[in-house]
């Protein structure tokens, strides 16, 4: 088991290395660097000035040495101030080292955000915290509801409850966040006036009024999927011999479901819920942009839209980490929950 986890962690590190290299390559393409230079300098700058801005801020160093600097395996070189000829900080708003030092992600330095004029860490981690709160409430809403729907539907296959709930969950998987968000806003904010169509104020304090719509929108897409998986697993369990035995020895249907079926039926949904996190990540981006909630997704869009290199790298590192760690947890957890599975 331990060697399995270690091997998986090794693959994870390799995957993260490859992915950050790809992201690094793509955001450092020449047109993207030009865009960054244009957005960072004054209007109407000539091509030479743009080029000199890029050189002065160290964007024209060798690609691999820059990647190494970001990673922290190559010492970060300070840039030379053209006016004084002395080594200087790349950006005044964050304290880059003035002497060559190892200062990259491995050392915990995520770099500077050119868009927000601050260090990446001070922007990214509060945003992650805000998204964490959102995710927490989404899970609190999504998991019980979807498990309940799945169990109710799967307990008597083919019944009217089953068919109604199945079609409802298919409908919810057909509703991406940008669709349900619009529909919910129209119903609850525009027509009924019950809820706030914007969650911008939620950064200062979460209330039922400003936070329900984002949570609802984000939960609805996942509910259908998890419910369908739970239903499939429940249907399978209900056909097992031990369920028949329990019924034949005279237990009531309710207690068979609760005592015998439920536990076995919940193994598969656990994996699905864990694998749902990467999907939630995309949903988070849409929902945060739609409801103007200042979280991780909002930061990612701002970083991508402005080609904020270090911030975008930080965002991709975090999201790739979340995807891979949930995969690992789902594999390990599955082995723990189901004693018949042995990982090799």
């Amino acid at each position: 088991m331990l060697s399995f986890i270690l091997r998986r962690l090794g693959t994870m590190a390799l995957t993260m290395l490859c992915l950050t290299l790809v992201v690094f390559f793509l955001i450092n393409l020449d047109p993207n660097l030009k865009k960054l230079a244009i957005s960072q300098t004054e209007m109407h700058t000539s091509a030479e000035q743009l080029e000199s801005w890029l050189v002065n801020h160290g964007y024209r160093q060798n690609f691999f040495s820059r990647y190494g600097q970001w990673l922290g395996i190559v010492p970060k070189q300070p840039v030379t101030d053209p006016a004084t000829g002395k080594p200087a900080r790349r950006f005044s708003f964050c304290n880059d080292p003035v002497e060559p030092t190892f200062s990259g992600v491995l050392q915990g330095d995520f770099g500077c955000s050119t868009k927000f004029k601050t260090t990446v860490a001070s922007k990214l981690f509060p945003a992650l915290g805000a998204t964490g709160i959102l995710m927490f409430w989404v899970l609190v809403v999504m998991v019980p509801i979807s498990l309940l729907i799945g169990i109710l539907a799967g307990m008597r296959e083919g019944s009217r409850t089953d068919r109604t709930l199945s079609v409802a969950s298919i409908a919810s998987t057909a509703t991406p966040e940008y669709v349900s968000g619009v529909i919910f806003t129209v119903i609850f904010a525009s027509w009924l006036g019950l809820l706030n169509g914007s969650a911008a104020s939620a950064s200062r304090g979460i209330t039922f009024y400003n936070f329900t719509l984002p949570v609802m929108t984000l939960a609805i897409y996942g509910i259908g999927y998890i419910a369908r998986m739970t239903r499939a697993s429940m249907v399978e369990v209900m056909t097992q011999q031990y369920i028949r035995t329990a019924r034949l020895k005279g237990l009531s249907f309710g207690s068979v479901v609760v005592k015998h079926a439920l536990r076995n039926a919940l193994i598969a949904p656990f994996t699905v819920i864990m694998l749902q996190f990467p999907w939630l990540l995309t949903g988070v981006v849409i929902v945060e942009v739609m409801f103007r909630y200042q979280g991780f997704g909002y930061t990612l869009v701002e970083a991508a839209g402005n080609n904020d290199i270090d911030l975008l790298l930080g965002c991709s590192l975090v999201s790739v980490f979340i995807v891979l760690i949930t995969q690992l947890i789902s594999d390990v957890g599955y082995a723990f929950l189901n004693p018949r599975i042995r990982v090799q």
Binding site: N32, I170, A174, V186, I286, G297, V301
Partner: protein
């Protein structure tokens, strides 16, 4: 000048009337399918359940809407008629006397016509991209599952690499105006569009290599048609000027194929690993058939059930992806009538006007719902066998 309005009941009637070619085609096709359902195999079996009928109905509805878009829509989806700015549903356009059935958007374009034309974009790109993703996934998944070992390790690592990307980040990196100046989208298009040609060439080669008369015709056709489409799509150099794709459309097309082919790869790989332990595969191996013959002519046909179901779901998922691209304003032209862009434009103004937001959202939702119902019913039917 004051606009004239027609009542809500007339709006509903008007919408139903505008869709007349769709209703006729729908009745003809559904009626014929229902009568001959015994002879139509898997497709015919769909008509045995109400879920299947609804699914087929919705999908055909949008298919015919896309085909007859120019007849159905009363206005050009891009033309702005200033007086109709933010007009409410049912407003009569004074010059032509035609009705803005679902009102006008903030740029004074007809919401109804835009929704109808939006179906064209979705119904061209989503199935085509899914088709290419299937080709890529199958061509790579077959050897990975069949041979296992190092090929499998490398290909699975690459697939997991792409799958570990959050889709939205992938799109922000791959679908930007800047990347069009680099050769990357064209190189990726060149790579992906090669797969169908390889797939069909190998398919025919393994089957007919002992029968040159058939082989040369089929191979020749594959190479000519494939090369023609390839030159049109990748180099935009179709000698007949029929196949043409805008650079930004090529870009989203490639990004969507890139995002969804690892999923197909995983499914195909899993299916192949399951099927290759069957007796008929062992029999073919004993006969001395080549590995690619076994993969393409023994394993693949037996994996078709789950693949068809997955393809249906995947078209729906691709539609959602296209909507996401439109919602973030990536790739598609800002005035493009596709549903995602329309939702983006309308959702910014929800506080003042809600009518431009509803038609595209309901259209997108209903199309994906139709595909999901279709997939669900296909799955039920193929489980019965």
């Amino acid at each position: 000048m004051q606009l004239e309005y027609i009542g809500a009941f007339d709006v509903v009637l008007g919408v139903l009337a505008r869709f007349w070619p769709v209703w006729i085609a729908l009745v003809l096709v559904m009626g014929a399918s229902f009568v001959y359902k015994k002879r139509l195999g898997l497709y015919g079996q769909l008509f045995d359940s109400s879920v299947g009928i609804v699914g087929v109905g919705i999908c055909l509805f949008w298919l015919f809407t896309a085909i007859f878009a120019s007849t159905i829509s009363p206005f050009n989806p891009l033309v702005q008629i200033p007086i109709m700015k933010d007009a409410l549903p049912g407003a009569v356009e004074p010059q032509s006397g035609l009705v803005y059935l679902f009102g006008g958007d903030k740029l004074a374009r007809d919401v109804f016509s835009r929704m109808v034309y939006g179906s064209q974009i979705v119904l061209i790109i989503a199935p085509a991209a899914t088709g290419f993703a299937l080709m890529v996934g199958i061509t790579l998944g077959l050897p990975a599952g069949y041979y296992g070992g190092r090929i499998d390790t490398v290909l699975s690592f690459l697939a997991n690499l792409v799958l570990a990307f959050p889709v939205i980040l992938l799109f922000y990196l791959l679908v930007t105006p800047g990347i069009m100046e680099t050769p990357i989208p064209y190189a990726m298009a060149g790579l992906f569009f090669l797969f169908p040609i390889i797939f069909f060439s190998v398919l025919f080669w393994t089957r007919y290599k002992k029968r040159p008369d058939r082989l040369y015709i089929l191979l020749g056709l594959t190479l000519i048609i494939g090369g023609w489409v390839y030159s049109g799509l990748v180099f935009d150099a179709d000698p007949f000027r029929i196949i043409h794709i805008d650079p930004n459309q090529l870009n989203i097309f490639v990004a969507v194929v890139f995002a969804s082919s690892p999923g197909v790869f995983r499914i195909v790989r899993g299916l192949v690993m399951d099927i290759k332990t069957r007796d008929y595969v062992a029999a073919a191996q004993t006969r001395g058939e080549s590995p690619w013959y076994i993969m393409l002519w023994e394993i693949l046909p037996n994996a078709r059930g789950p693949l068809i179901v997955d393809a249906c779901l995947r078209i729906g998922y691709t539609t959602i992806l296209l909507g996401t691209l439109g919602y973030f304003g990536l790739g598609l032209a800002p005035e493009s009538p596709d549903w995602g862009t329309a939702i983006k434009d309308a959702s910014r103004l929800l506080r003042s006007f809600i009518h431009p937001a509803l038609p595209p959202t309901i259209a997108l939702m209903s199309f994906v719902l139709g595909l999901n119902l279709l997939a669900d019913s296909l799955r039920e039917q193929s489980m019965k066998d």
